[in-house]
């Protein structure tokens, strides 16, 4: 077990020094997942070829043909990222048993780097949800307290790592889906700049907002994973024409001269006082590292949640139309004609939250309403981007909470949907602006549930954000704290 608690960097050292072989690691990993998965439900499908793959990787390492930061490292992949070896269900009945005929670009890049994919991580259905409870295959539970949610939509990805079921994982972030579960589970997650990681093979939710990113125990591991998956992909027309990130020269503890803005309108009404205190405490730590912290007002962000739900739902209503029960996915046994086939397949194949957002998006794009909703939301999006541009003219980063509360109890959120949507307040504006953000642990509340914070930066400022997180983690212990797993 102890081997599974290592960071990616530490594990790599042991593999390189031949203290442990990749098959040994993967065997231990599989045995552990078998015990923990019934408790936390992080994985939907376990890779049956993991051990075989481990042996191949081991041989390549020994032959000297493979040397990367993830060679032989067990990882988890969110279930909306296409894989040929395992099913890709997006947490939906609609895609039960679905095998993609191809691998996503990020999967190919991870495999090339020698990572061993352990399985597909559970998630809110089609990434729609903030708790991983809309998953058709059961809710993902928080290892810090299984009565609480994991967060979402990348709940399985966060919990897989938090419960030592993988050393790092891939999630996707459309409105906070990497950062918020990372915060709820004491993980470090990165939502990269829109276009810096290929979306080819990511089952689309809100195409103009979706971005794949890493979740890990610390920023160094997360950055190493981001370096592997990032960079131009000619199969994604929205991918930026640039090479992969290289974070080697920004793992520095010095923050001298860095200007940090803290939006005071994020710390007013509605935020849990313990989270507010943790943010101010973090600001103090950052000041000790030489950074200059200042409070300011970030305009326009009050409109972020409604704009986000209109844009994401509108795009989703179109993206999810292909799930029509005809070519793949859920096909009803009984139907009378084509229209009935569509109705039955989609009524029975999709869950409530997905149907709600499809209806919302369909309405927002309808003739006569397009200008009032979708077009207006796009204008808000542009104004939010401008507001961030203004802030980044003054600050290197914005320090913000990730969520207004810690992980709620299972069942609480789905009973109060509006509350759940509003809890995305601190995360969605990042996706609307297309900018990067790093979510990382900054404390615990009285009930020992993790509190997260995030650094926001201008487009392609990942290196700055990684440096901030690295410096912070070098003088704090929050991210080293581990949950007491019931099986251990």
């Amino acid at each position: 077990m102890s081997i599974l608690k290592l960071s990616v960097k530490e594990l790599r050292k042991k593999i390189t020094n031949k203290e442990i072989s990749v098959p040994e690691v993967v065997k231990a990993q599989l045995a552990h997942i078998e015990k923990t998965n019934p408790l936390y439900n992080a994985y939907h499908d376990i890779n049956k070829n993991a051990l075989l793959r481990a042996e191949t990787v081991q041989k390549e390492i020994e032959a000297g043909t493979l040397d990367s930061a993830f060679a032989g490292v067990p990882v988890a992949v969110k279930d909306n990222i296409c894989t040929t070896e395992m099913t890709t269900t997006c947490g939906s009945k609609m895609l039960t048993g679905f095998h993609s005929p191809y691998n996503a670009t990020v999967v190919k890049r991870l495999q090339k780097a020698g990572a061993v994919i352990m399985g597909k991580a559970n998630m809110d259905e089609f990434a729609m949800g903030s708790t991983s409870e809309t998953c058709y295959y059961g809710a993902v539970k928080n290892p810090w307290n299984p009565e609480h949610v994991s967060g979402g939509s990348s709940g399985g990805s966060a919990v897989a790592v938090a419960s030592y079921g993988a050393f790092a994982s891939l999630g996707s972030d459309t409105g906070g889906s990497i950062r918020q579960p990372a915060a709820y589970c004491n993980m470090t997650g990165v939502k990269p700049t829109y276009g810096s990681v290929s979306r080819f093979g990511l089952v689309a939710y809100g195409s103009s907002l979706d971005q794949i990113g890493p979740i890990a125990h610390n920023i160094e591991d997360a950055a190493a994973m981001l370096a592997i998956i990032s960079g131009y992909d000619d199969q994604d027309s929205t991918s930026l024409k640039q090479g992969p990130f290289d974070f080697n020269d920004c793992l520095k503890e010095d923050l001298e001269g860095k200007k940090i803005g803290i939006p005071m309108n994020y710390l007013g009404e509605g935020i849990d006082p313990e989270i507010k205190a943790a943010i101010y405490e973090a600001a103090k730590k950052l000041s000790e590292l030489g950074a200059e912290c200042e409070e300011f007002i970030l305009p326009m962000v009050d409109y972020a949640v409604p704009a986000y739900y209109i844009i994401a739902s509108a795009e989703a209503s179109s993206n999810l139309s292909r799930f029509d029960g005809i070519k793949y996915g859920y096909h009803p046994k009984k139907f009378t004609d084509l229209e009935d086939l569509y109705l039955t397949a989609r009524s029975e194949g999709f869950g409530m939250e997905v149907k709600r957002r499809i209806m919302l998006g369909t309405f927002a794009l309808s003739s006569g309403y397009y200008d009032a909703y979708y077009q207006k939301a796009l204008k808000v999006k542009a104004l939010i981007k401008q507001a961030f541009d203004g802030a980044f003219a003054k600050y290197d980063t914005i320090l913000s909470p990730v969520a207004p509360t810690v992980a709620p109890k299972l069942g609480e959120s789905l009973n109060n949907l509006l509350q759940m949507y509003l809890s995305d307040i601190y995360t969605v504006s990042v996706n609307l602006a297309g900018i990067p953000a790093v979510s990382l642990p900054c404390g615990f509340n009285k009930e020992n549930l993790p509190i997260g914070m995030q650094f926001l930066g201008q487009a392609l400022s990942e290196k700055t954000l990684v440096q901030l997180a690295y410096a912070y983690q070098s003088i704090t212990e929050h991210h080293h704290k581990k949950p007491q797993l019931e099986v251990l």
């Binding site: 993609s100 093979g201 929205t238 179109s318 139309s321 029509d324 003739s367």
Partner: protein, 484 residues
């Protein structure tokens, strides 16, 4: 004037066309799959064009280039900042359940083409040309009730060319389609084969009281794939609308279909049931910027277009408007013609061969002008023989047919088969004398005023010489001799 079922004297007809042209690019619009026609079902597909989860489109640059060329050749403005939109609807032939198309910023706008629809030349304005992807093909099996889907056509690039309502008859509509087909095939952007579905038309028809400036309610009849069907569907629809108005009813705005077998149109869906396509900008494709440089490059590569060629043939070759028009309808035919004329410099003779027996033989053999089974050199040699007077017209016709069918060398063939025209005066005089002596009755008839007898006498000589005698001279000689 054609006979119509209805009395059209009281009405003006207004027709607009939406023409879908399948581009002849090697690969599809958003993936690398082949666009070749006629492959086994579902063999030219990939996750992208079959709309599997997680796929993204990558725009084929050749498609944009073709659309720019089409726009420039039809006098359009090019929308330099253009983008794609999604058109959402459910149908099994559309695996993504949305068609990636252009609504808000189509690539070409405000152009025109010149047509000749029988009442002289006129301009038909083009509202816009946009790029989009084709859908798959469904085949329904009546006996089993099953429907099969072939996704090979999914993602084949299309241009939709939308005209203004500038046409007034089926003849003009067909002339417009033909003009477009000629331009597109000259550009090489499409082969415009209606029978293979690479060109299809939707017709918008309305009628209004003669002279009125207020347009009537229009109907749209979709997916017509032959000139015959277009003509019949338009005529039928005009009759139907006149009938409605004459009976005090109203034309309803609707989408209709045409059953070419039964020769009837029928309602597909009314305006109330019209789809709400919920168009919105395609988020998976970044907006495009088409640079001045790119436009200039495409412009430089645009070949001489049919109308320019036609004008040149009128001028340089003194062809009739009709002949020139016929030749330029096919780029291959025009180029063949030009190459032949370049060799012999006898445009009228060359055109006569190609337009007469040439087109007939192509037709009979189901060939296209680009498959012409002989070389320009062979025709130019033949023309030279005719012009020099080495063979007469009858022989020339026969030799042309031999060239076409057996690919013979005309000079060698004429020599080997002894087909040169008999123009030797002595020989001809002897022949004429012989025929006069042998046919006293015809001679008497001719002298008695039956001029037709002359033809009989000439025919006798032509038969005797197997058509080789110089018919014109024979004619003259007989007349001279019988005048005595």
């Amino acid at each position: 004037m054609a006979e119509y079922y209805s009395d059209r004297s009281k009405y003006d007809v207004v027709i607009g066309l939406e023409v879908h042209v399948e581009m002849s690019t090697k690969t599809k619009i958003f993936c690398g799959c082949s666009t070749a026609f006629g492959a086994e079902p579902n063999t030219q597909t990939c996750p992208v064009c079959t709309g599997m989860p997680g796929v993204l489109p990558v725009l084929n640059e050749q498609v944009v280039q073709n659309a720019i060329a089409a726009g420039l050749a039809t006098n359009c403005e090019i929308t330099q900042n253009c983008k794609f939109d999604r058109k959402n609807y459910f149908y099994p032939d559309l695996p993504k359940a949305f068609q990636t198309s252009q609504l808000y910023l189509p690539i070409c706008r405000n152009g025109w083409v010149e047509i000749n629809g029988g009442n002289g030349k006129k301009k038909v304005r083009i509202h816009q040309i946009h790029m989009e992807e084709d859908a798959g093909k469904l085949s329904h099996h009546d006996n089993t009730g099953e429907t099969f889907i072939d996704y090979n056509r999914c993602g084949v690039p299309l241009m939709e060319i939308v005209s203004e309502p500038d046409m007034t008859s089926a003849t003009e509509a067909c002339a417009y389609m033909e003009a477009l087909a000629a331009i597109m095939s000259y550009l090489g952007v499409s082969d415009c084969k209606l029978e293979e579905g690479s060109m299809r038309g939707d017709i918008n028809v309305s009628i209004k009281p003669k002279g009125s400036s207020v347009l009537g309610t229009r109907t749209e009849t979709k997916n017509l794939n032959s000139f015959k069907a277009i003509t019949r569907a338009i005529e039928w629809e005009i009759d139907r609308q006149i009938d409605l108005l004459e009976n005090g009813e109203k034309v309803v705005q609707e989408t209709r279909r045409w059953d070419d077998e039964k020769g009837i149109g029928y309602t597909m869906r009314s305006k109330e049931n019209a789809h709400d396509y919920r168009y919105f900008p395609e988020p998976d494709l970044a907006p495009m910027h088409i640079s001045d440089k790119w436009i200039a490059e495409v412009k430089a590569k645009i070949p001489e277009l049919p109308q320019q060629k036609q004008a040149r043939y009128l001028n340089e070759w003194q062809l009739s408007e009709y002949d020139a028009g016929m030749i330029v309808r096919s780029k291959a035919l025009a180029l063949f013609c030009e190459e032949t004329v370049a060799l012999c410099n006898e445009p009228k003779e060359v055109v006569n061969f190609l337009m007469g027996d040439g087109l007939r033989l192509l037709n009979e053999n189901g060939l296209d002008a680009k498959d012409m089974p002989f070389a320009p050199k062979q025709l130019s040699d033949l023309v030279s023989l005719v012009v020099k007077g080495s063979i007469n017209k009858t022989t020339a016709k026969a030799v042309f047919e031999k060239i076409f069918r057996e690919n013979i060398d005309p000079i060698e063939y004429v020599k080997a088969n002894n087909l040169e025209m008999v123009s030797d005066e002595e020989e001809l005089v002897q022949m004429v004398a012989d025929v006069i002596a042998a046919n006293p009755k015809s001679v008497a008839d001719y002298k008695g005023g039956k001029k037709a007898a002359l033809g009989f006498l000439v025919g006798q000589i032509m038969r005797a010489t197997k058509g080789r005698a110089n018919a014109a001279r024979v004619n003259e000689l007989i007349r001279e001799m019988l005048q005595d």
